[in-house]
Symmetry: D2
């Protein structure tokens, strides 16, 4: 199972024009748009898209998606999920715009996860600096999900899917409260946090440097999006990244992210944080707002397209002590 | 009365070693220190100091100080204040380290204000980049004071002392709630805000750019000063400056400040803000913490050295509506 | 004579469309344009323009211009120049777009210098971050001129016009080779260098920070303007500014400039550099290209509109030794 | 053969004190030093070192070194090189400070290449921002080598060692002139250029952002190292990285490097540049100095420790046309 990296997300939004205005302000490049959907890529991306917005009646997450090395990897993944008793569907090449054959599964956490090996190529605009604007989003970096049983989900991602842990968080009783897991060698392709779930907490996009995030705040505020800056800018203790959290017009959360580190060494020792360490979330000690812990995007059933019912998390502590 | 600029502050601190550790972390250059006091200058400053910390039993502000063009200006200022019925004292040259003759007055607001024309020269370290550290503080920029009658104090600074207004804030009834006044042609040498007074709200120091403020947050947090970051980093709506507010070990507030604009033109029209405009304080819409409005440094009587009693402000609204 | 600051330049260009493409790439804001001329201002400027390009058959400098405090200052300046035997002309209010009454003189160096007190107001776009692009030019900062007799011209600007010296350069024989003179309290409103003259060497525009200059290089290169980057980016030893020199389509030289210092103190001691000090021009030791010393824009007679003939400079050394 | 990444270099230097002053100015962290050698790591590195300087009579490169996944990978590599007829030596664990068992081979190009799986752990200082100084070097990124037959060497690295190509350069006759090869998924762990060889052209170290490189120039110049800035700062066309090239006191070349891109996708198409494209080296069009093409560090025989004789390259063109 050679999973390469977090690769795309498909979000449902209720007002495509409003959403487009927001994501264009962030500097996403539009690959294609019609009345029903829009396909975005970052300036560095050589592929058709990393973010799809589909116009629907209710906001939701259709899937989060990982790129794998080959078509054979897809077949192996399908076998593996089916043998483990999970729902699996195939979408034939071309049915989803720009996509080869894709596999979708309902994960043991209830998250709708997609895998694919092939996506159409598009012109990479990395050196078209004249087209840079907003936050100058470079590429998708990671997903962060809230699930009810972090330990169980983390075990599956590590033991079955081959993800590696870079950092993790424990509560007072040494329970695993959150974990950062990667396939590409930076801090994460997916983070899993204890919370009402299954939900997508945010999608992280890589930006060039910290100043691009400061500039993005100024530009977003000038455009009237100040209310949609939810948290930051700041430095994460966990991951060391410089960050900004935004809420799109439907409340989907986007993180602008830069400055984590290389995790390629097999002898790199995962970094342990305590949930109540005030430098864990924001290295400078700033508390996150309640909304950051409480609100997240609901996800859909890969077969029925209906919302997956939410359940309460196994671990009782829902946010750091200094915030309660 | 040719007042040039905000030039120095004299603060009383209770633990000189703790204070020194903090200000050195910010990158101030020590000109002189002994067991009773320490004298700091910024990297750009060609004079003996812009900040004095004196070890005393209680934290307080001994004076805030403006540089004037000549000794004659001092005599004129003394006349003017005396004729207007204010307390005036002279300190002979050399009695205050590095200083020529200085004049101190108790302002109509009760603030202890100092004027001087002469200060000893010191090596300017602007291009000693090898000595830059912390926030790389360049120079003193301004004072911000809380007074009980903004309109009255502003009138005196403008009409009698020749300060000019760059920006101002009004409340719902169009009362002047705060005002930014300058002699050097940037946004301010002194700001005056409605509040329990007289108090010094903060001293603003100029830094090179926004990234120096981000770097300062990382460095301060690494040194264990995270709790002393009170507000920011962020962009002010009013003044357009990028800012960070810190509290020193005695609670004195320091602002790191960069990026306002040139105000030299006589036809520049002061910019009007409404107190309840959420972009006024932080252009990105972030609210300031309550402490930022409520806490400030008490000031001393220039003659007796005793604390000036605090009085309630004339205008009832003490902070923006969205914060109440 | 209360001169406030360097305020505008009027350049002749041969291909208005080509010039507009270039200056718009730099982020200038167009106040007005027609087939004959275009008027630009920086994002911080509250006035009609700071740069005028007029379409003409040959590239030249029509004038460099200083803003003064009042109409009376203009009358005093006219008297002063006429008494000293210089050519003086008046242009009535409104004849030059956006301008009040203006005075033009042919300086003792032969430079066409303009003074005015009144310019039409325009919306200041400082906080319209959504409109920032290219180098995000904020405002005009200074002129740099080549003249044949630096000592004589410097004397006139200092003694008669009230400019102050911040820094200067001497050659091996202690002759004044170049001088930086200011009215607003940063390093300069005008610099005067030894060289074939009279010529305008460059116009300096203030940008927000060093990263804006790096970004400008990337953007200009992406747009095909790489050949027009003549020198830099780098740090000046003299002035301490971070800089980039560009040549516009007619060869007029523009400097992007940030990061000098406050020069308001009357006891600030001008900084002396030796011409052959390799850190003077570029603090990092990089040599300027020959073109930077040899090429500059020719200037026009304020009365006839004809080119002022060039003369050889009094001091023989035309560039630093390490470049010869 | 699971090679992970470029991991360390061992350089011979003639004056350890002079070298230490230089590398400390760059912000390297000293893990260990005595009279014979010094071991440096970057702020992000969790291992003993990435750069070793050994005091010797003549400057040279003892080896460039790659980390592999396991001890078995070392055995496979030894087999492979021996079967192909190359010199191979083993160094037992602990003989080289901080190192497990290491394998050294004389490559077909003549380069002394080392492989190892184990290195002692050391405290990672990534979040000790209070210790950041100079260029704030984060970690080793890549080697760049000059060889006489690029095509042959590139073939071996790709086909036998499993490196992948991100970008490459061809001359007028479509000969492969240079190639960028990676194991970790950014632009390169090793670049191979046509030139007199075998020589190590430079070692690239990762820094946090472009501003850190600008700051490094200021700091190095303030410390008197201006002459050792050989090229840059600038933006590479090839790789898109922001760069600075420095020469250490023995002439070994160090690159500060930031801002390339993710190359993990199997369908990423290598980017082709023509040698004479003026944007290839420096996106802004600046030419590199002759020294950059002509000078490089000589390398040693892994068995005898003697210098490997230099040979002329197969391709005649030694630098881009616009530089000749």
């Amino acid at each position: 199972m050679n999973i390469i990296r977090a690769a795309r997300a498909v979000l449902h939004v209720t007002d495509l024009e409003k959403s487009k205005a927001f994501y264009e302000a962030l500097g996403f490049v539009e690959t294609y748009a019609d009345d029903h959907a829009v396909y975005y890529r970052g300036l560095e991306e050589h592929v058709h898209h990393s973010l799809v917005l589909k116009k629907k009646r209710r906001p939701a997450v259709e899937c989060i998606s990982f790129k794998v090395m080959s078509e054979e990897d897809l077949d192996h993944l399908a076998d593996l999920y089916e043998r483990a008793g999970f729902s699996v569907i195939w979408i034939e090449k071309g049915k989803e715009m720009g996509m080869g054959r894709t596999l979708r599964v309902q994960d043991l956490s209830g998250l709708p996860i997609e895998f694919f090996a092939e996506m159409e190529s598009k012109e990479r605009l990395l050196q078209r600096y004249d087209l840079y604007k907003g936050a100058k989003v470079q590429r998708i970096d990671h997903f962060n999900c809230q699930v009810t049983d972090v330990k169980q989900v983390a075990h599956f991602f590590q033991e079955t899917l081959g993800f590696k842990c870079s950092e993790y968080t424990v509560d007072d009783s040494e329970n695993l409260w959150a974990i950062w897991l990667h396939r590409k060698p930076n801090v994460h392709d997916i983070a899993i946090m204890n919370g009402k779930g299954p939900r997508l907490h945010h999608i992280g996009f890589w930006v060039k440097d910290a100043m691009n995030i400061i500039d993005a705040c100024d530009i977003l505020a000038a455009l009237g999006y100040g209310d949609q800056i939810e948290r930051g800018p700041g430095r994460h203790g966990l991951s060391n990244a410089f960050f900004l959290y935004l809420r799109d017009p439907d409340g989907h959360r986007i993180e602008l992210y830069n400055g984590d580190y290389l995790t390629s060494d097999p002898d790199f020792k995962p970094i342990r944080w305590h949930l109540n360490d005030s430098m864990r979330q924001t290295f400078w000690g700033h508390a996150a707002p309640d909304s950051w812990f409480e609100e997240a995007s609901e996800v859909l059933d890969v077969k029925t397209g209906k919302k997956i019912p939410l359940q309460e998390p196994k671990l009782q502590q829902k946010k750091p002590e200094f915030m309660i």
